[in-house]
């Protein structure tokens, strides 16, 4: 563990109001010290959110420029700011800027010193903030000033929010010199649904449904993160069989999404045969999921306390059949990718993400791993049952679209093998435990970090003594990936943007909340 991180958690309290990670109630000086550690690369940023009168900074002991033997452990640093102002972290650590703008939009608190005071999720359309306790007055934003770009013969291409394909809405402002992109500026927030507001006061069941719809493609991972946070807060023990079933579902979700992404990336390089083949395999996964668990995307199947659907003997056979088919077909597809030089002509060297940027932004998932970051929440910090499973993390160094395709292929292979292990080691028994009731009148907080197909999802929840949700915050991996898309497109041609974008496949809904 890094010395700075150790010093940080040395001052924190453990197991009192937050589980399972330590928490530090900081004063302004402690807050600035925590921000300084981020600036110096002593640890990484795992999340940053507000609630009425307080800001929370989740820090993670993860590979950075200076961290030694990172454990993946988390520490939550909280600063009370009753006057609605707090010192900016973004001022010294740019990856925090958008999160800080969001805190300002949603809670009306001000980050003193934030270099970018523009609103982020707030487009000036929210008439009132019913259901968002302690929120700022609505309708702050008006005309959104994009960053100025100066130079000869530059032109701008505004794209979105409604895009040409069947994809989510967001706005991209390209500034180009001829065919070459000089700058991309993103504007997001179009699908902000006010999920944090809806969570406040929700029953556990309703909150779990909401968590499963933060980003529909990661519904299992989000439901798992929510369940783990609730179970940590209430110290509920999940039955062993449910732990394995959760991993089975999570890996099915990963396989389905990676197959979809591989097909979509190749399709954007006009190689549609790969989309056709991957589409068939993806459909097989979803049909197997529907047969085994009763929903193609496995929505609402992971719930606090366990899982809502058990795997029958017939279901087991379905999964085994699916594994056999994907195992048989995948090498052909990987070979097809490998042998098609016209396709690699588009992907190799395109959209290069520098390893130092990936590290600085704490970029996880396929994108981080394709740029040399060997991080995976299943390993660091790790959670059951992955701590009992042998697997290594596929990593590539090239950082281009090609590397991101290859890491996805490798991860599908790993997930197939994880499912085989899970089937072999899954014990019989119950699949759902009751959430432990409160033993007092104090709220209970839980924090979880779960690896979705896109990367690490952080979820924090505070439960009231009656076990309803007081507040809940979910941080999508895309928060630390979207800003990097702006960086990788620089110097590429406009026509390669779809390739870069698909190879990232960031979530709009997960980001906009």
């Amino acid at each position: 563990m890094g010395r700075t991180f150790a010093a940080l958690i040395g001052r924190a309290t453990r197991g009192t109001d937050l589980r399972p990670w330590p928490r530090l109630h900081a004063d302004v000086e402690g807050w600035l010290r925590a921000a300084g550690g981020l600036r110096d690369g002593a640890y990484g940023l795992a999340g940053y959110w507000g609630e009425p009168g307080r800001v929370n900074l989740a820090l993670i002991d993860i590979p950075t420029e200076t961290a030694e033997a990172p454990t993946g452990g988390l520490c939550l640093v909280s600063l009370d700011c009753p006057a609605g102002r707090f010192p900016s972290v973004g001022a010294v650590f740019p990856p925090a800027i958008r999160l800080e703008r969001t805190i300002c939009d949603l809670h009306g608190m001000r980050a003193d010193g934030n270099p970018d005071p523009r609103p982020w999720l707030d487009h000036g359309c929210w008439r009132a903030r019913e259901g968002m306790p302690g929120a700022a007055p609505a309708g702050r934003a008006t005309d959104y000033p994009f960053l100025p770009v100066e130079g000869e013969s530059l032109h701008r291409i505004p794209v979105g929010p409604v895009h040409a394909g069947i994809i989510e809405p967001g706005h991209f402002r390209f500034t180009c010199s001829g065919e070459t992109v000089v700058r991309l500026e993103e504007r997001l927030g179009y699908v902000h649904k006010g999920i944090e507001g809806l969570m406040a006061g929700a029953s556990l069941e309703r909150a779990a449904h909401l968590a499963g719809r933060v980003s529909g493609d990661s519904t299992v991972a989000y439901a798992l993160a929510f369940a783990q946070a609730v179970e940590a807060a209430t110290q509920t023990v999940v039955p062993e069989r449910a732990v394995w079933l959760r991993a089975l579902m999570a890996e099915l979700e990963r396989i389905a999404n990676h197959l979809g992404d591989i097909g979509a990336i190749c399709n954007d390089a006009a190689f549609s045969i790969m989309l056709a083949h991957c589409g068939v395999l993806r459909e097989r996964v979803l049909r197997a999921a529907a047969l085994c668990f009763g929903h193609r995307l496995m929505m609402d199947k992971v719930i606090p306390g366990g899982v809502a659907a058990d795997l029958t003997t017939d279901g087991r056979a379905v999964i085994e059949g699916l594994l056999a088919e994907v195992r048989a077909r995948l090498p052909e597809l990987a070979g097809l990718y490998d042998k098609t030089t016209s396709l690699q002509d588009r992907t190799v060297g395109t959209g290069h993400l520098r390893p130092d940027l990936a590290r600085r932004f704490g970029c996880g998932g396929v994108i981080g791993r394709a740029s040399g970051r060997a991080v995976d929440a299943r390993r660091l910090p790790g959670y059951p049952p992955y701590d009992q499973l042998p697997f290594d993390i596929p990593v590539a160094e090239a950082g281009d679209v090609d590397a991101r395709v290859r890491v996805r292929f490798a991860e599908v292979v790993k997930s197939l093998s994880l499912i085989t292990h899970a089937l072999a080691r899954m014990p019989a028994g119950p699949v759902l435990a009751t959430i432990s009731p409160s033993d007092g009148d104090q709220p209970a907080e839980g924090l979880a970090l779960v690896e979705g197909f896109r990367g690490d999802i952080l979820l924090w929840v505070r439960l009231r003594p009656d076990r309803t949700v007081d507040r809940c915050h979910a941080r999508d991996p895309s928060w630390f990936q979207w800003p990097l898309l702006e960086a990788v497109i620089e110097g590429n041609i406009v026509a390669d943007f779809p390739l870069c974008n698909k190879s990232f496949n960031c979530s709009y809904s997960g980001h906009d909340l």
Binding site: W126, V191, K193, L198, G216, R282, A290, R296, L297, S509
Partner: protein, 172 residues
């Protein structure tokens, strides 16, 4: 090996499945709402512009699946187009966030008549799980007129196909 593989491809039955019957509920909803004369003009093809107005992206996944070999939606003359100016149908998902309201209205205006709006997913009906939020309008019909609702969270590709075939069938 290669020859065997090619032979297998020739002998294998196609993956594409028989069409589901047009959804009864959809036919009933359409009978009351869609003008017969306009339906005749539509003929046997539909060009669809998909608009995500705040969905969780679950519906998008299943709409995408309509293009895979199992459902192969293009065999029915239904295809997805890039511009609302080329579209007969707007397929709208999500509870309609306030931040997407203007974009949805402008997409609707940009679509030439005759045009139909199909609201996809439970939250597109009335806001669903997101109803009551400060940030959503609470369903597509709160913003633009809707001709057909396809429920589900998300609706399966078969449910989507049954709904769209009802639109095509009723417009014949």
């Amino acid at each position: 090996m290669r020859i065997i593989r090619h032979l297998r491809t020739l002998l294998d039955a196609p993956l594409t499945e028989a069409a589901p019957p047009a959804a009864d509920a959809a036919l009933a909803e359409l009978a009351g709402q869609v003008d017969a004369a306009a339906r005749q003009r539509l003929g046997r093809s539909l060009s669809i512009r998909e608009v995500d107005a705040g969905s969780c992206n679950g519906c998008e996944l299943e709409i995408h699946a309509l293009n895979n070999a199992f459902y192969d939606i293009e065999r029915f003359g239904i295809r997805f187009v890039a511009s609302p100016r080329h579209a007969d149908v707007l397929l709208v998902t999500g509870p309609v966030t306030r931040n997407m309201r203007e974009a949805l209205e402008r997409t609707y205006v940009a679509t030439p008549s005759p045009k139909w709006v199909v609201a996809v997913g439970d939250c597109a009906v009335d806001g669903g799980l997101f109803a009551g939020s400060y940030a959503v309008e609470g369903g597509v019909a709160a913003v633009i007129p809707v001709d057909l609702h396809i429920r589900g969270c998300p609706p399966t590709p078969t449910q989507l196909l049954a709904g769209l075939l009802a639109l095509l069938g009723s417009s014949r």
